[in-house]
Amino acid sequence: MPEAPPPFDPRQDYPVSERRPDLVTTPAGIPLAAVTLEAVIAGEIGANDLRVTPEALERQAQISIAHGRPALATNFRRAVELTRVPDERLLEIYDALRPRRSTPEQLEEIAQEFEETYAAPLNAALVREAAVAYLRRGLLPNGN
């Protein structure tokens, strides 16, 4: 019976693509080693396959903590959640967070969407914090 692969060690396993390539896959589960030019030419690999997985981002969060840059983990972990959000929606939410685009109610709706649709509490928190800040500083859509 084959041994279970060793657990991921953020202190030792960087670069992950070199030390633990067995852990790296496309979102559909295709292993890193199978992402070859031949596979691309054969049409087996498309643009949507070349996206980072939440697992890969979580590993990088742990690596950054293990190597003295814990501040990066915040961004990595928000990014983990955002892997679940489609491109177009991502761009829309970015726009909604820009000055004078959204009312506090609209921002609260986005926060709830993050929580309920995308299981994204960290991003929900970011949006709620923004909503509080924008309200305090009078950053409402013009005409409100």
Binding site: L50, H67, L82, Y94
Partner: protein, 760 residues
């Protein structure tokens, strides 16, 4: 008339007239005006540093209470300050902290741990204790990645894809590990991105590419796999300017996470001076406002920053201490754990002196990217505006690396490799455009791009080229489409490299701090190439193979060999025959010419490019004009021109001798003078002409008749003779000195070949 005032009306000093014309006097300089933000490192309106916590929350930040926080204060207080270390960090005196930054024995890891608890105003206080040398010492220790690197701008005024691809190839050959494009016309962004992607992988793999345009478009290009990182995600140091930029700290933090969620590397951009330009500096110093930006960058969890005065650099440069401040803001970013692309991007000054000086701190100390945009193209082709460094400065950059034995990220490159690489890149992008059914790139454009200095040398922009960009966007063309197109057209190697670039998104390895990819796509970052500088003998040192590569500039010659000196006047063939030992002359009017041991033997021309036969012919002609008898002797025992001339003089019946070294240095001597004195000395051999040697002959004759001729004057206009000629002079003198023997001086006879040269 007073003797204390100038007796001429309204005069100007000739020195000032000349100074006024100097390029440095085209730059703008202002007196410090803190109320307007025109002050570099410290303003009286910078808030006193402070931090008060209540229940694990910041209630006062740098003398401002929470209910007075603006957007930036709020974000810094709640996202950036590490509460766990804040009390400990803020209890350290700024002077102690500053000393630790410079002290090689205090580990960078410890400084970063503590710095996480510092407020912007405290950080500014600390940096104010460091002069520019100390800032360089701090940078050497604090930069994130051990190995320095460099980034290039690759743009052109026509948004010409073949030229972008060719220039990207050139940039990678020079060693740049990041390449950045932008647009002459906004609509062209996708086509520029594709051309840059292909060109940047055509010759050397692994350089990551970005297309700097409006935020949303830039993100879209990244999502499509047409770029591999983003940089111009900007933040600003005052609320008003941030809002004018149509973003908030939260929208920027979200944007950062959006990039990261797609596996794309990014850094923020800040940099001093912008708030002053936008008329909203709140009376704060440039460093303080930049400290707020950097704190926000940290708080967003972003790995790095482009700073060091970017678009605002001329404002920073206008006040005292501006260049010091630029280094200070780089160092602060490093202290806060960030990757730093350290400015040297926008042109700092019209003055060559000043723009080079501005770069020296970063180049000598080393940063993650010495330039956050070396303009690898001609100035007129730089769509960001001219960079501080441009295409024509590349040899200077390579020489500076060699002069100081520092790694500025670049390597010498050969013309043939550049031509071949540019051709490959331009062809590849032409073929990909054809394969994808985009408007065709003409063969003329490809050929022109290969040899072009810049877009002035390429055909006019094809009108349909604008549709290429539209098509790329509308059809949703992705990086994978580019890979497939390359493969179908036979560019398997380039296709594989582009694929390996896209694959970086899968592991996320290059998202760590200060990550670059080497040509084999091996990641080097602060994680696995951590800067371990801890004093002399540690950290990154230029040595071994890398040193060999940097010092091997194409201009360096082997000093064992005779230097290449082009002949500038006609050859006069001649031969010398030794007749026997030279004897003391009795003719009171004769002149003896002493030739150095290698004259006409192995060496055949002077540093001025005058053939030895021509030299001899001219001197003899001058002597003959004056009717002076002449003897020619070979001096064997010395290569020194004064002693050659003195030996000739001591053999001479008149006591007058002329000594000539092979390199052309000449002395007219008298037997009674001390060796290092002379009647006339011609020490600047490169400036001499055949006519000078003729005049030397004439004057020697007159000295022999006890006359006092007008000395022969050799015009010197202040040319840099030493840097230009000293290595050649040394090489020639080495050869002549090797020819020295213990033989006695020998009498020579000379015969000139065929019909000798006409008089000049």
């Amino acid at each position: 008339m007073s003797r204390t005032s100038i007796p001429l009306g309204g005069v100007r000093s000739g020195r000032f007239v000349a100074l006024d014309k100097r390029p440095v006097n085209l730059d703008g300089f202002v007196d410090e005006a803190p109320d307007l933000g025109f002050v570099a490192m410290h303003s009286p309106h910078d808030p006193p540093a402070g931090l008060h916590l209540e229940n694990g929350r910041v209630v006062e930040l740098d003398s401002r209470e929470r209910d007075e926080f603006d957007l930036i204060d709020l974000f810094i207080a709640d996202q950036a300050i590490d509460i766990a270390v804040a009390t400990e960090a803020m209890a350290i005196s700024s002077l102690d902290f500053a000393r630790w930054m410079v002290d090689p024995a205090v580990p960078a890891t410890e400084l970063r741990r503590l710095a996480a608890g510092l407020t912007p105003a405290r950080a500014v206080e600390i940096l104010n204790h460091l002069n520019v040398v100390e800032l360089m010492m701090a940078a050497q220790k604090l930069r994130a990645r051990r190995t320095p690197s460099n980034q290039a701008h690759v743009t052109n005024a026509k948004d010409e894809p073949a030229l972008i691809a060719a220039d990207a190839a050139s940039a990678t050959l020079a060693g740049f590990r990041e390449v950045e494009t932008t647009v002459a016309v906004a609509r062209d962004a996708p086509a520029n991105a594709v051309a840059l992607l292909i060109g940047s992988q055509s010759v050397v793999g692994g350089a990551i590419s970005q297309c700097a345009v409006e935020e949303r478009t830039e993100l879209l290009l990244g999502l499509r796999g047409l770029t591999s990182y983003a940089e111009t995600v900007s933040n600003y140091g005052t609320e008003a300017v941030f809002l004018d930029g149509d973003d908030t700290p939260w929208s920027k933090a979200f944007l950062a996470s959006a990039y990261t969620s797609r596996g794309l590397k990014l850094r923020f951009t800040s940099g001093s001076g912008v708030e002053v330009l936008m008329a909203n500096a709140e009376g704060r110093s440039m460093l303080y406002l930049e400290a707020r930006c950097l704190a926000m960058t940290r708080g967003s969890g972003v790995q790095g920053v482009q700073n060091g005065g970017i678009d605002g650099v001329a404002i920073t440069g206008s006040v005292p201490g501006g260049a010091r401040e630029l280094m200070a803001e780089n160092v602060l970013a490093m202290l806060w754990g960030l990757e730093v692309a350290s400015g040297n991007d926008a042109m700092f000054s019209e003055s060559e002196t000043r723009r080079v000086a501005r770069t020296m701190p970063q180049l000598l100390a080393g940063t993650d990217f010495i330039c956050s945009g070396y303009g690898s193209i001609p100035r007129y082709d730089n769509m960001f505006g001219p960079s501080n460094w441009n295409a024509d400065d590349l040899d200077d950059w390579l020489v500076l690396q060699r002069d100081f034995e520092v790694d500025g990220g670049l390597s010498p490159f050969a013309e043939d490799d550049v031509l071949a690489g540019r051709y490959r890149a331009a062809r590849a992008v032409q073929d990909v455009f054809a394969e994808l059914g985009l408007p065709p790139i003409a063969d003329d454009s490809v050929h022109a791009a290969v040899v072009a200095h810049g877009s002035y040398d390429t055909p006019a922009r094809a009108p349909e080229m604008g549709r290429a960009a539209d098509a790329i966007l509308e059809r949703g063309i992705t990086g994978i489409d580019v890979v497939t197109a390359l493969a179908k057209r036979g560019y398997a190697e380039i296709a594989d490299r582009v694929l390996r670039m896209l694959k970086q998104r899968l592991s996320g390895d290059y998202l760590q701090t200060a990550a670059i990819l080497d040509p084999d796509f091996h990641v080097l970052s602060a994680v696995n190439d951590a800067n371990d500088y801890a004093g002399p003998g540690t950290g990154y040192r230029l040595c071994g193979a890398r040193r060999d590569q940097i010092v091997a500039i194409r201009q360096a010659v082997d000093p064992h060999q005779a230097p290449v000196v082009p002949l500038r006047w006609p050859r006069i063939g001649f031969s010398l025959v030794e007749l026997g030992p030279a004897s003391l002359g009795t003719d009171r009017g004769e002149v003896v010419i002493g030739l150095g041991p290698a004259f006409g033997r192995g060496l055949d021309r002077t540093l001025a490019g005058i053939d030895h036969g021509q030299v001899l012919w001219q001197i003899l002609a001058g002597l003959e004009e004056q009717g002076a008898p002449v003897r020619l002797v070979r001096i064997w025992q010395t290569s020194d021109v004064a002693f050659i001339a003195l030996a000739a003089a001591k053999l001479s019946g008149s006591g007058i001798g002329v000594g000539i070294q092979s390199k052309g240095t000449t002395v007219i001597h008298h037997r009674s003078l001390p060796p290092l004195s002379n009647l006339e000395l011609f020490s600047v051999a490169p400036l001499m002409t055949p006519e000078h040697y003729r005049s030397i002959g004439r004057n020697a004759a007159k000295y022999a008749r006890n006359e006092h001729p007008e000395p022969v004057l050799v015009d010197h206009l202040g040319e840099a003779i030493e840097p230009r000629y000293h290595t050649k002079a040394a090489a020639l003198h080495l050869i002549e000195t090797k020819a020295v023997t213990s033989e006695r001086a020998a009498e020579l006879s000379v015969s000139f070949d065929g019909s000798a040269a006409d008089d000049a």
